[in-house]
């Protein structure tokens, strides 16, 4: 009996430690203290991060892309996720969020009510954003429209519907380290910010392990099957990626490949975002891609 009792106590302790270690993390106000918001820079962060591409209504064009009413479907092996409403409506959207709420969502994947977000929100990339970027993004988004469309619940089945388990996922795969390391030039360093943090390119272009974690090192940005089951996302490392830097910049500007095919699917939306950035940013992304593979 004593052995069984001890076992039960041990299991309880392990479970308690597990829950503690994997609890949704948040930072306090000190992390953003003393920062002055710059909404104009926030717009660059918004565009480079592709917020609208996922959170606008399906197929929205022009000004309608800034109505972040959500609803797009993201099928995956774990179930189908629906982009929530992140418009400025205080009820249906996130109009009542503070800059700190933005920070905790994007850096820790934790909602204002202390729940884990699923990593379909690419906080594995946004974790690299600076506090200043997040404060600026928050300031820019205050001027975007409100929309009352209710968010659709995710369609995710057991066991993936247990959000507590996301804490274990974060423990395994969420980390603040950059993938491309070393002494980088200012251009490469900007490229890394755009590719690894804001642009979250790896979310589609890097293969995942069985638990949905991105494979790093030599696997980084080597292409992957589309989780929606339609085709694959291309390998961005040599020899498969043979375009010159100038050809990459052209693709990011006009959408034309060197063979005069054009970007399609969600990549067409990515190109629309890249085309709206300064040319130096497109060149920085191209420089990063030409610096692959990760050794």
């Amino acid at each position: 009996m004593r052995i069984i009792f001890r076992l039960i106590v041990l299991v309880a302790i392990v479970a308690a430690i597990g829950l503690w270690v994997t609890r949704p993390k948040t930072d306090g106000a000190e992390v953003l203290a003393g920062l002055t918001p710059d909404a104009a820079h926030g717009e660059t962060v918004f565009t480079a991060s592709g917020c609208a591409s996922c959170h606008m209504a399906e197929g929205a064009e022009g000004e309608a892309k800034l109505v972040l009413s959500g609803g797009q479907e993201f099928p995956s092996p774990f179930g189908t996720f629906h982009a929530p409403n992140i418009s400025m409506d205080p009820e249906a959207g996130i109009g009542d969020w503070t800059a700190l709420d933005f920070w905790n969502a994007l850096h820790h994947g934790t909602s204002p009510d202390g729940q884990h977000y699923y990593p379909v929100l690419p906080y594995g990339a946004y974790i690299h954003l600076d506090p200043q970027d997040v404060v600026d993004l928050h300031a820019y988004m205050q001027d975007l429209p409100a929309d009352g469309t209710p968010s659709r619940p995710h369609d995710v089945s057991f066991p993936f519907n247990i959000r507590l388990a996301v804490g274990g996922w974060k423990l395994l795969f969420l980390n603040e380290g950059w993938v491309m390391e070393g002494d980088l030039s200012p251009e490469l360093s900007r490229g890394r910010e755009l590719v690894e943090a804001m642009g979250h390119c790896a979310e589609c272009h890097t293969p995942r392990n069985a638990l949905g974690g991105l494979k790093e090192g030599a696997n980084w940005l080597t292409g992957a099957p589309n989780p929606a089951g339609r085709g694959t996302f291309p390998d961005l490392t040599p020899p498969e990626m043979s375009w010159s830097e100038a050809e990459l910049v052209e693709y990011f500007t006009s959408g034309f490949t060197p063979e005069f095919d054009t970007a399609g699917g969600h990549m067409a939306l990515v190109v629309e975002n890249l085309a709206a950035l300064p040319e130096a940013d497109r060149a920085a992304v191209a420089a990063y891609i030409k610096a692959l593979p990760i050794q």
């Binding site: 339609r230 085709g231 006009s254 399609g264 067409a268």
Partner: protein, 157 residues
């Protein structure tokens, strides 16, 4: 532009008929209809590459060559493509295609994009022989028209 729309709607219907005719010829490999539409895409790309290389100043501007390529694009975008978009030849049905099933469930949207492409090609035809600047200006809408269709109706690689 009503005329081209009418033609395209008619061709969509013709495609359905053609499907019945060629369905019997599906053995191994990609159906002839799919090969034909892929060949059409290559012809677009080939003619675009002449104009595009000039727009990107990779080759010297040549009014005559640009004009000829633009005229080809207009002809290509006016082709009777109906039978090439045979039913049951989407990514759901066969290998060797990137054509999404939405093409057949949203024919209205496809036709809208096809009309827009024809209009952009006509605008390029007017601009290409004019000057390099005019050609560059017409290039954006033309690329946009290609991209709009690929965004909605083509599977990633």
């Amino acid at each position: 532009m009503t005329s081209i729309r009418t033609i395209l709607v008619g061709l969509a219907a013709a495609g359905t008929l053609a499907g019945a005719v060629t369905a019997a010829s599906h053995e191994a490999g990609v159906p002839a209809s799919v090969k034909a539409r892929q060949a059409t895409m290559q012809l677009y790309a080939f003619n675009l590459s002449t104009i595009g290389a000039m727009a990107q100043e990779k080759i010297e501007y040549d009014a005559e060559a640009a004009q000829a390529a633009a005229e080809n694009l207009v002809k290509l975008s006016s082709l009777n493509q109906g039978p090439m978009w045979e039913p049951a030849t989407s990514t759901d049905d066969i290998d060797g295609t990137r054509a999404l099933p939405e093409i057949w469930t949203d024919m209205e949207g496809v036709i809208e994009d096809a009309v827009a492409l024809n209009e952009a090609a006509v605008a390029m035809e007017a601009a290409a022989g004019e000057s390099l600047d005019a050609l560059k200006q017409a290039m954006g809408p033309l690329g946009g028209a290609c991209g709009d269709c690929h965004k909605a109706y083509r599977q990633p690689d």
